[in-house]
Each structure stands twice: as C-alpha cells, then as structure tokens.
C-alpha cells in the first residue's frame, strides 16, 4: 500500500497550486461580492485544461485521470469554492455523461467545445418538485418527426447561466416514474429555453444556480443520450462520478480554511502569547486536520477506484458525505479560531463557511448518501 501521490500527480498538483495562488486567490473575495467569476478567469482556467482534465485527448481533453481531476478541483477550491464547482459540475455532470453514454458522433460533436471551455456544461435534473426523488421528474417530452419536443422547468442548475451545453432529463410518461425518463444533450442557446432567474445564494455566490423554463424546446433525435427510458440510470451513474468532484471541492474549502486558521493562530497574540499556545486552539487544529486527512484519503481512493474501473458507488457516497461534513466543521472552527475577525469578509473564512454548507446538500444530500451507503452494506 502506498499513500504517496505519483511524481506526475505531484507535478500537476504544484502546477495547479501555482496557478491558483496567482490567478484565483486574489479574486476570490470579488467573485463572492460580484456573484460571478470573471470571464477572463474562466478563459484562463480553460487554457490550463481545467475543464477537460480526465477526458481523452482525442476529444480535446487533457487525457489525465480522475485523481488528477480531484486534485484540480481540490486546489482550486482551496482559494475559491465557486470556481471549484464550476469545474466540477462542468466536467462530471456534462462532459462525463456525454463521454460515458454518448455515441462516437455525439462525443466528437459536443466534447471538444466543452473540454476547451468554449461551452460551459451543466446537468438539468433537479426540478421544483423533484430533487432527491429524481423519479418524480415532471419535465416531459414527445416525439415530433426527427425532433423531441421538451416542456417543463428545471431549478438549481449549476452553471446554467452560461447557456452552454446541458444534459437534460425528461419523461415521456410520468406514470412510469424513473422508467419513463430519458437523457438529452441540449444546446441551451436554442429557442424555447428561458432563464427564469439566477438564484441569490448564501454561498458559492460566484457560481450560477439557474432556474429554467422550457417551452417547446426542439431537440434533434440524434441528441438522445443513451437509450430511451434509460435516463434515470444515466443520472445515477453521473451523480456517482460527480460526488468525487464535490468531495474534492469540499476538501479544498476545508483545507483553505485550515491554512488560514493555522497561520492566524500563530500570529494572533492574546495574554502575551500566540493563541496556538493554548490547548483549546491546539485541539481544534488537531481535530480539523484529522478530518481533512480522512476526507482526502476517502476522496483520492474513490477517484483511484474509478480510474481502475472498479465499483466506486459506496466510496463516492462516503467521500462526498465525509468531506462535506468536514468542510462545514472545519470552516466553522476556522472562524472560531479567528474570533471576531473570522466574521469579517477580508479574512475569507466567513466566505468559506458559507461556501461549505452547500456541499452537504447538492449532488445528493448527505441523507441520500447515507441511504446509498447503508443499502450497499445491507444488500
């Protein structure tokens, strides 16, 4: 057993880290305040290959592996959780299913623009009345000649506001529940697509979270992803992989907050000594670091299992659940270590605290993760 990153992964980690330090970290406060990631930064991240890390080179990706992808999302999220989820949702939830379930023609048509960041990807599953219960999808489609016609609405769509390429789930017969659902690749610049709003959120404020209405959106039949009626399976497989991305995001947020708390505890003096000399602070740091390390082991392991083409359903659920709960815990403690300054935007840990919470909710709530894990334990 070897818990060391390979030299290639270390080279990647250090390259990403340098980029993040210089290009993302100085913008993180502004991204939160402006509710958007500057286009220039999205372009720079695309040029770095962050948007196509594990997709093959023949489709414009970097050709690296899932572990590399996890490292990219983690390092970016150390500085900016919004930028981290942009990469995660784009790669895992749009490029991922097109690569896994698409035909050769579909991959050639859609993946290059996604991998180079020309189009930003999103995953259109959640609806106002269908979140954890994806079988309750109420967006419908009918066949009309060589097109499918989609009607309905979607909500909480990460990256939706970019109006790029989406993977959309819709039902042809709601009474069939999950068996009636199919997946489609959609160009969100098509007629019939309306943005209802980009949500105003507690955290990851730089990330678009979009509500859509679809009014007779016509999708060519060749954009059906996988077989008709198999959309639910595609969604579940996609979320499995996506959880590794969210775990990496949560891990990065936790590490970013920890770094600040550790440094601050050495600088801040009270009662004539650095506060890290107090056992109350030392124990916090020990607990925070232990949870971060366990999250990292689980997340990297899930990524390695996916790379090895082994089953990773339980591991991805565990790493997402544990890393997200670590993120909320660590950011809360980091704020506590900072005292009053922790509540001030300039010190950044309050933003990280706000950014962390969503990781317990999206890509399957942690309650759903516990269902997944316990079902597998008892099956």
């Amino acid at each position: 057993m070897n818990f060391e990153l390979s030299q290639d992964h270390k080279v990647l980690q250090s390259a990403v880290r340098d980029f993040v330090e210089k290009e993302i970290k100085p913008l993180a406060i502004k991204i939160d305040e402006d509710h958007m990631i500057p286009d220039e930064l999205v372009k720079k991240m695309s040029e770095m290959g962050f948007l196509g890390s594990y997709l093959p080179e023949e489709y414009g990706g970097a050709g690296l592996d899932m572990l590399s992808y996890a490292i990219v999302v983690e390092e970016v999220s150390k500085a900016c959780g919004s930028s981290g989820v942009l990469i995660s949702a784009h790669t895992s939830l749009a490029s991922g299913p097109i690569y896994t379930f698409g035909t050769e023609e579909q991959k050639k048509k859609w993946l290059p623009a996604l991998n180079t960041g020309e189009k930003i990807g999103c995953f259109l599953l959640t609806e106002p009345n269908a979140g954890s219960d994806a079988g309750g999808t109420a967006t419908t489609y009918t066949r009309d000649g060589d097109h499918f016609v989609i009607n309905g609405s979607k909500t909480f769509i990460t990256n939706g506001g970019y109006l790029g390429t989406g993977v959309l789930l819709a039902s042809f017969d709601r009474s069939l529940k999950h068996k009636g659902i199919s997946a489609f690749i959609v160009d969100l610049q098509s007629p019939g697509v309306t943005i209802l709003k980009n949500e105003n959120k507690m955290g990851i404020r730089g990330s678009y979270t979009t509500a859509f209405a679809f009014d007779n959106l016509r999708v060519p039949v060749e954009n059906l992803l996988g077989q008709e009626g198999k959309g639910f399976n595609i969604a579940m497989d996609t979320l499995n992989g996506g959880r590794i991305g969210i775990a990496s995001q949560a891990l990065g947020i936790a590490e970013g907050a920890f770094e600040r708390a550790l440094a601050y505890s050495k600088e801040r003096k009270q009662f004539d000594q650095a506060i890290c000399e107090f056992q109350a602070i030392q124990f916090k740091l020990a607990d925070m670091w232990t949870r971060i390390e366990t999250s990292k082991l689980l997340t990297y392991r899930a990524a390695c299992l996916k790379d090895a083409k082994k089953n990773y359903t339980m591991e991805s659920a565990m790493c997402k659940m544990h890393a997200s709960e670590t993120a909320t815990y660590v950011t809360k403690e980091a704020m506590q270590i900072h005292g009053g300054y922790g509540y001030i935007a300039d010190y950044e840990v309050e933003r990280m605290y706000r950014d962390a919470k969503i990781t317990e909710i999206y890509e399957g709530t942690n309650e759903v993760q516990r269902v997944v894990i316990s079902k597998l334990l008892l099956s």
């Binding site: 270390k10 390259a15 340098d18 080179e57 970097a62 690296l64 990219v72």
Partner: protein, 258 residues
C-alpha cells in the same frame, strides 16, 4: 540548434530548516521541494527560444540529484523542453560548485550545445558559480544575471543587471552560456494537456559516476539555520520617509517596480 537548460530542485524557502546528522547541510525530512526560481526563468527563456527557432531545434533539460528531482524535470518538460537528462546523484547536496559544474560540462562537452541557460544562482546554496564555471570548462562565452534576451543568427543580445538598478547590454556569439535573473520573464504555467504530453518525453538517466572525475575544492563544514525571525521589518519616520523606504525595498528585493 541544440539548447540546454540546467535546473536544480531546492526546498521551499519558507520551510523550517534543521541541520542534517553530520551538521553540514539541511535535513531534507519534511521539506517540500520545487524548481529553483532562477531556473524557472532559464527554462522559460529557453522554451521561448525553442519556439522562436521551431523545427530542427532541440531543447534538453538537465538536473543533478536524487529521484525527487525528476518532478522538476517533468515540470520543465511540461513547460516545453523536448527531452531530459537526469544525472542520478543521491549526494548532490554535498558537492561544491566546481564538482557540479564539472558534471554538467562533462555531459555537455560531446553534445555541442549552441546555447546553455542556467539560473543566476540556486536559492539554497546561492554560490552563483556553476554557470560561469561550466562556460569556462567548455571554453565558451558567458554572461550573467540577464534580464532580457534576444537571439538572432548566431548572436545573443542580453541585457544585464548591474548593481544599483543600472543595466548594461552585451552581445555574444554562440556557443554561449547565460545565467538568468529575476525580471527576465514570467514563467508559464504547465497546462494539463502539456503535463500529459510530458509523460511521453524521454528522460535519460545517467549515473553521476560516469561524469564526475573531479575532487571537491571547497567543503561546507557546518550548517546554521536562521534564528527564529522576529516580526519583519518595522519602518519608522514620517509617512514620506516610510514610503521611500518601502519603494527602496520593493526595488531592491522584488521585481514589482522594475
């Protein structure tokens, strides 16, 4: 054209250094290593020249040291070097600049490089001798601490940094060696696709015993980590004075005002 760039992997200078068991160098345990900063400028400049010259130009990166230095080599390959030589030496840290330069010149002698790039100095040993000794051993032209570089038809035009902010321009015919200073360029980030491509580039491993025939001329006999730092520099005086002092420090210690 054949180009060579020589790099060293050094510890992150913000690390806490402790002497090794013999007390002559730092203990490597728990240190994070990265490419020497000045060597990054050298790699960037070499890659830019490689791009300028296009087909028919070959850029080799060389590093001496234990297995860990392959990380710095791989970064250089991802930045655009074509191939690499790893001179395997677990005891590179104990060699003096004369021996290191002898190893590099022994490697370079038969290979007839047109231009060799090195950093101005390493961030850990800081002798600033290796580049100039290599040039001397190879009998080629050399200039140091360059902050601008141009090449055209066998001639290098380099701007050098002199003391006190003064600059000078030198011209030299190839073959030549230049040592690179802060301010020469902004090194590129290795992109993910280029990190992938670098995996397929050849790294030739050569044992140091094949190249090193020289004894050391200067032995480091003891090592002293810095005393625990205080709270940095505190500037005093009225505001105008303080501003002048800050500007002087920024000019002297960083590239932001150059």
């Amino acid at each position: 054209m054949k180009l060579l760039v020589c790099i060293k992997q050094v510890p992150d200078l913000e690390s806490r250094f402790k002497p090794d068991a013999a007390g002559v160098w730092y203990n490597e345990t728990d240190l994070a290593f990265r490419m020497n900063e000045y060597d990054e400028y050298a790699v960037e400049q070499a890659v830019r020249l490689r791009e300028q010259l296009g087909e028919g130009c070959e850029l080799t990166v060389l590093s001496i040291g234990p297995d860990r230095v392959v990380e710095a080599i791989k970064k250089s390959l991802a930045m655009g070097c074509d191939n690499a030589a790893h001179i395997q030496d677990a005891a590179a840290y104990s060699k003096d600049p004369w021996q290191i330069a002898s190893i590099i010149s022994a490697y370079a002698k038969e290979r007839n490089f047109d231009i060799i790039f090195t950093g101005m100095q390493s961030q850990d040993r800081g002798s600033a001798q290796v580049g100039v000794i290599v040039a001397e051993l190879l009998g080629i032209a050399c200039t140091t601490t360059i902050v601008n570089f141009d090449y055209d038809n066998g001639t290098i035009t380099a701007k050098r940094e002199l003391e006190g902010g003064i600059k000078g321009v030198v011209k030299l015919k190839t073959p030549a060696l230049v040592t690179c200073q802060l301010g020469l360029n902004v090194p590129r980030y290795p992109t993910l696709p280029n990190i992938m491509k670098a995996k397929k580039k050849e790294i030739t491993a050569i044992s140091v015993a094949e190249l090193l025939k020289e004894e050391s001329l200067a032995a480091t006999t003891s090592f002293h980590p810095p005393a625990k730092k205080g709270g940095g520099i505190v500037l005093e005086g009225d505001i105008a004075d303080q501003v002048e002092k800050v500007i002087a420090i920024l000019k002297d210690k960083t590239a932001v005002l150059r």
